[in-house]
């Protein structure tokens, strides 16, 4: 299968990426070539194997205490975190208007 210009635009839209015309063309060609390489996965029978979403270890100790109690802890780093923001007022991140008046 091949990726159309509309596919590239749709994906860029989903990913919130503003692309130039030149980037649209380049990515279309490159995504086509990468996806046709990835198509080799279709050759395999995968019906006998579960999807592996994460590494599951069978070593002793690997499974234990991976969950902690859900307890709220005080944290005073708020002002420091806000200092990193491009636009902030005490207690808030400020962004461009979301809704029309």
């Amino acid at each position: 299968m091949t990726i159309s210009r509309e596919d590239v635009l749709r994906v860029a839209e989903l990913a919130h990426l503003e692309l130039t015309e030149e980037e649209l063309d380049t990515y279309r060609g490159q995504l086509n070539s990468i996806l046709s390489y990835i198509d080799k996965l279709r050759a395999l029978d995968t019906s006998s194997v579960e999807p592996m979403a994460q590494i599951l270890h069978d070593a002793p100790g690997a499974e234990s205490d991976s969950l902690r109690d859900d307890v709220v802890k005080p944290d005073a780093s708020g002002p420091e975190i806000l200092r990193q923001a491009p636009d902030a007022i005490p207690g808030w991140f400020r962004v461009p208007r979301v809704m029309e008046r």
């Binding site: 990426l17 503003e18 990515y27 490159q30 990468i34 390489y37 996965l41 579960e50 923001a85």
Partner: protein, 482 residues
């Protein structure tokens, strides 16, 4: 310092203990080297002399008071720029985080400092650790100090170059699919990827969370073992870090090699392997056999699918992880009149070409209508690759392969063809997908003088065995060189 002017952990310790040099003088000496070499190498993106000198002074006063020095006391170490460091800019090699200064330390960094290490600064890397040549950094490529005109590998290219050039005694790198081992091979130094879950990822800025790992690059196998020992173990701040007991890696380095089964997977020695790399790796296998290892030929039939699996799984996870760079909370913001346009413009201009390419690929693989065909199928094949490893480790104690199919390539050689660049990781992504530990150690040079890397892969949490084989090989080849 040894004959070629390179320090290691044990020479730093003995020199400081004998009071021939103070930790502070040593740190000063390293900054002099960095200021001299870095304008050419571009291995460091930020230096942290205040923090380094404060730590060095702490070590010097411990010694002055006659107290016991911690294991890495005064050892100058560099940190890859995707690992968070309080008060030191951390850019991930990206314009989108140009002015970002983390308010906390990664657990790995905290543990190194608790062990006495002196953090020199942050090393250059491919943007968000995406690349195999360091050419994807927004702050310019890194030069390979041992192979002029060639790439240092990537994505931990700055860490590898800094260590190989003697600008740090060791460095932390990170891996998602070869990013520690491949630059180690390209720069001719040992480079270790621990098991997934062995070292906390807390503070490692996420690329692909089911694959990301932190590991050391150093000038000897022993030093990688020492650094791993300090960093390894359960961390409550990373739920995927494991409580498996951490052995004393250094004391295991000299364990007996007799009868150890070394598995040679034939799929790693097929078409596409450079003949000189093949010859060097075959020679290394011969060295291990002389040490008493038994060679076991075996097959790992799904090896050829690993790159395809990796570029679906890693990009899918990246497209989700990198959604956080939206111009709201930190980093770059491109002004726009609506929130949505602000997101799109900030991300469109803040990310480089490779990062955008991978976000696009991952978003596509996760999008409606393609999720089953790409993402779920890739996860199933990942399961088959992991099964290849568990079956191989029933026949062999470790696996021996080349680290890379070719020696380091020229700057600019693969930049126009992303797929060719991806294939540089063909022998490293497999262990990444399976979660097992692996090291690359130098195994000689090609006729043109380019370093070749030997890869040793072990079962989950058997870093001790990987390091033991690596050390035995290193010792055997150093003996013949002398």
């Amino acid at each position: 310092m040894n004959a070629d002017g390179m320090w290691n952990i044990s020479s730093v310790r003995s020199t400081i203990l004998r009071k021939k040099i103070s930790a502070r003088e040593l740190a000063e000496d390293f900054y002099v080297r960095i200021k001299r070499e870095n304008p050419h190498l571009n291995a460091f993106l930020a230096l942290s002399p205040e923090r380094a000198f404060a730590q060095a002074d702490r070590m010097d006063s411990l010694l002055a008071r006659g107290e016991r020095l911690p294991p890495l006391a005064g050892v100058p170490i560099a940190i890859k720029d995707v690992i968070s460091t309080t008060g030191i800019p951390t850019t991930c090699g990206s314009k989108i985080l140009e002015n970002y200064v983390p308010p906390y330390d990664a657990t790995a960094v905290q543990r190194l400092e608790e062990a006495g290490a002196v953090i020199l600064g942050k090393t250059n890397c491919d943007e968000f650790a995406m690349g195999s040549s360091n050419e994807n950094s927004a702050y310019g490529p890194v030069r390979n100090p041992v192979a002029p005109g060639r790439v240092p590998g990537g994505s931990s290219g700055g860490s590898a170059a800094a260590v190989a050039a003697g600008l740090a005694v060791a460095a932390l790198g990170t891996e998602t699919g070869g990013s520690i081992r491949q630059p180690g091979a390209c720069c001719g130094i040992p480079a270790l990827m621990p098991s997934y879950g062995r070292v906390s990822r807390y503070g490692l800025i996420a690329f692909a969370s089911s694959l990301d790992r932190i590991g050391p690059l150093a000038t000897s196998v022993e030093d990688t073992a020492a650094i791993l020992g300090v960093m390894a173990g359960r961390d409550p701040l990373d739920s995927t870090s494991c409580s498996v007991p951490v052995p004393d890696y250094q004391s295991h380095l000299g364990a007996a090699m007799d009868g150890l089964r070394i598995g040679i997977p034939r799929e790693y020695f097929g078409e596409g392997l450079d003949p000189e790399v093949r010859r060097k790796v075959e020679e290394a296998i011969g060295v291990l056999e002389k040490l008493g290892c038994r060679r076991v030929e075996l097959s790992m039939p799904h090896t050829d699918y690993a790159i395809a699996v990796y570029y679906v799984v890693a990009t899918a996870e990246a497209s989700s992880n990198l959604a956080r760079y939206d111009g709201v909370r930190y980093g770059l913001r491109e002004p726009a009149s609506t929130l949505r346009d602000m997101y799109r413009r900030t991300r469109g201009r803040g990310f480089g070409a490779e990062v955008k390419r991978r976000i696009m690929l991952g978003t596509y693989a996760l999008s409606a209508g393609y999720y089953d065909a790409y993402y779920l199928r890739a996860q199933r094949v990942r399961g088959l690759i992991a099964r290849d490893f568990s079956e191989a480790f029933q026949q062999a104690d470790v696996l021996i392969t080349p680290t890379t199919p070719t020696p380091t390539f020229r700057l600019g050689e693969h930049t126009q063809d992303p797929l060719q660049m991806y294939l540089a990781d063909i022998f490293t992504v497999t262990a990444s997908l399976a979660g097992v530990p692996a090291i690359s150690v130098p195994c000689g040079r090609t006729a043109a003088g380019l370093p070749v890397g030997l890869q040793i892969i072990g079962p989950h949490f058997r870093e001790d065995r990987v390091l033991q084989v690596a050390r035995a090989y290193e010792r055997a080849t150093q003996d013949t060189a002398n």
